[in-house]
């Protein structure tokens, strides 16, 4: 087989498709966990109760103050000592999700704060409880505001998910690495994996663009300018995605 044939062989192999599928599954699951945790943390930060605020700060301190790779290995190797044995996949999404939450909290918080005080007052004046104001007025508007940064987190998470290969989760990178180490065809195997990463990130971008257009149509016109592909690429590399 020529180099090209190896490359193409890997590109369409079941193992690589499965690996890409695993990468996608880890990305989406971790991001959803991260959004849930982030929302709880954001609400905790704005809480009336001091204990809740301290708890939130401690969480942020722990998860932002240590490397995500450390957290990944910690969950996989240390939790079993306390009787919590998780599969590689479960460890991966738990660690990535909890870590993501610590960063998502800031996005959620800024989104919630961007909804004006007057909007909350208007909701309260209609007889809504604080919770209903949050649920029907603040969060739907905050969600529209945070769509662009969440899209960036999504892309960041896709790339971060490559770390899970260290705890033997069969993601795209581990598959490529294992394949190559059998016959030293690194260029072909990693090239094929690279194509999958690029295809996935490009699909994400297209989806993000669609979601932003939908959100624009549902009111708040003009707050989100449509962005070109180039602008999106620049946004990823301009330091908006936190370094972990």
């Amino acid at each position: 087989m020529t180099r090209g044939e190896y490359f193409f062989h890997y590109l369409v192999s079941v193992a690589f498709v499965k690996g890409a599928g695993m990468t996608l599954l880890i990305t989406i699951t971790s991001l959803l966990i991260g959004m849930g945790v982030g929302l709880i943390l954001a609400l905790g930060q704005g809480s009336r109760f001091g204990a809740m605020r301290s708890l939130t700060l401690t969480y942020l301190w722990l998860f932002r103050g240590t490397p995500v790779l450390f957290q990944l290995i910690f969950v996989f190797n240390v939790l079993p000592a306390f009787g919590i044995v998780l599969s590689g996949f479960a460890s991966a999404v738990l660690a990535l999700g909890l870590n993501e939450g610590a960063y998502m909290a800031e996005i959620m918080r800024s989104g919630i704060q961007a909804v004006g005080r007057g909007q909350r007052t208007a909701g309260r004046a209609l007889g809504m409880t604080e919770w209903k104001v949050m649920r029907f007025i603040v969060l739907p508007q905050a969600f529209r505001i945070i769509i662009p940064p969440i899209g960036n987190q999504f892309i960041g998470m896709l790339k971060l998910s490559a770390l899970v290969s260290v705890i033997a989760v069969q993601d795209l990178l581990l598959i490529a690495n294992q394949t190559a180490s059998a016959n030293f065809r690194y260029l072909e195997a990693l090239g094929a994996a690279g194509i999958y990463y690029l295809v996935l990130t490009t699909i994400f971008m297209a989806v993000q663009g669609r979601v932003e257009r939908w959100a624009n149509r549902r009111g708040r016109r003009g707050t989100m300018q449509p962005r070109s592909l180039t602008q999106r690429l620049i946004a990823w590399t301009s330091g908006q995605v936190a370094i972990r």
């Binding site: 007057g118 909007q119 007052t121 208007a122 004046a125 209609l126 007889g127 009111g219 708040r220």
Partner: protein
């Protein structure tokens, strides 16, 4: 004989019912830190009446409105609404606010909802009115504020005057016993002020009990059963519209009217 006396008791009761104000404020005090915003404010408002509150900026008018529906906690005094003492029940303020509509200077429509969704939200989620019924009510209210064709428009597709009329419809949808208007036309272009004031005046004439904070003197003259003039957190003058604009008022109020009119 017995019937006669029963009838008398009955009519007495009715008179008394009419005499019990819907809203009664006594000795209201409110400070932000060291700044006293409201100093000993008292007034009563009977059912079906409209009181217009006027006064220079910073005289505490808006704060007064926000205290009435418990959006702001008060420091001293009592507020009685619909025979219930509501002051001091801030934790359950949302129950009180179900029955008190409020309209804001900046409209504060919810930008992610269409006009009709704005109007339906609280009836459906707070009063638990069935959606179809809330929709019918909302359409009728849009008719009432003269924009029946804007039901599916988003707030940013409406002019300021239209937005404020949707905001009035949104408040009315909760079927409030009292309406509070906080400078409802201050953020509007002059040509739109009339369309909003006309709606408020119509509601007022139909017997909606209202407290209106405004700088629109011709509106005050036409709509008010009573004018309350505030300055420096105090009620300086309470007078009927005729007496107030007839000039038999406190010199400070007179000076204010002069500056507003010229």
């Amino acid at each position: 004989m017995i019937e006669e006396s029963m009838a008398m008791i009955d009519s007495n009761a009715q008179q008394q019912a009419a005499a019990v104000p819907l809203l009664s404020i006594a000795g209201l005090r409110k400070s932000y830190g060291a700044v006293e915003v409201l100093r000993d404010v008292s007034f009563d408002l009977c059912k079906g009446k409209t009181v217009v509150v006027i006064g220079p900026s910073g005289s505490g008018k808006s704060t007064l409105l926000r205290c009435i529906n418990l959006l702001e906690p008060i420091d001293e005094g009592t507020i009685v609404f619909d025979r219930q003492k509501i002051s001091g029940t801030d934790a359950h303020g949302h129950h009180v606010r179900i029955d008190i509509g409020m309209v804001f200077q900046n409209f504060e429509l919810f930008p992610h909802l269409t006009a009709i969704e704005n109007i339906m939200l609280a009836p459906v989620e707070v009063r638990k009115v069935p959606k179809a019924q809330a929709r019918d009510t909302a359409l009728a209210l849009l008719e009432k504020v003269h924009i029946p064709d804007k039901a599916d428009a988003f707030p940013d597709e409406l002019s300021g005057g239209q937005q404020q009329r949707v905001a009035i419809a949104r408040a009315l949808a909760m079927n409030p016993k009292l309406m509070l208007y906080d400078e409802p036309t201050s953020a509007l272009d002059p040509e739109m002020i009339k369309e909003v004031l006309d709606v408020i005046l119509e509601l007022s004439n139909e017997g909606m009990t209202s407290v209106v904070v405004t700088h629109e003197m011709s509106f005050a003259r036409r709509a008010a059963d009573e004018i309350v003039f505030m300055d420096g957190g105090r009620v300086i003058e309470r007078a009927s519209s005729e007496r107030f604009f007839g000039g038999e008022v406190h010199p400070r109020a007179q000076k204010f009217i002069q500056t507003i009119l010229h």
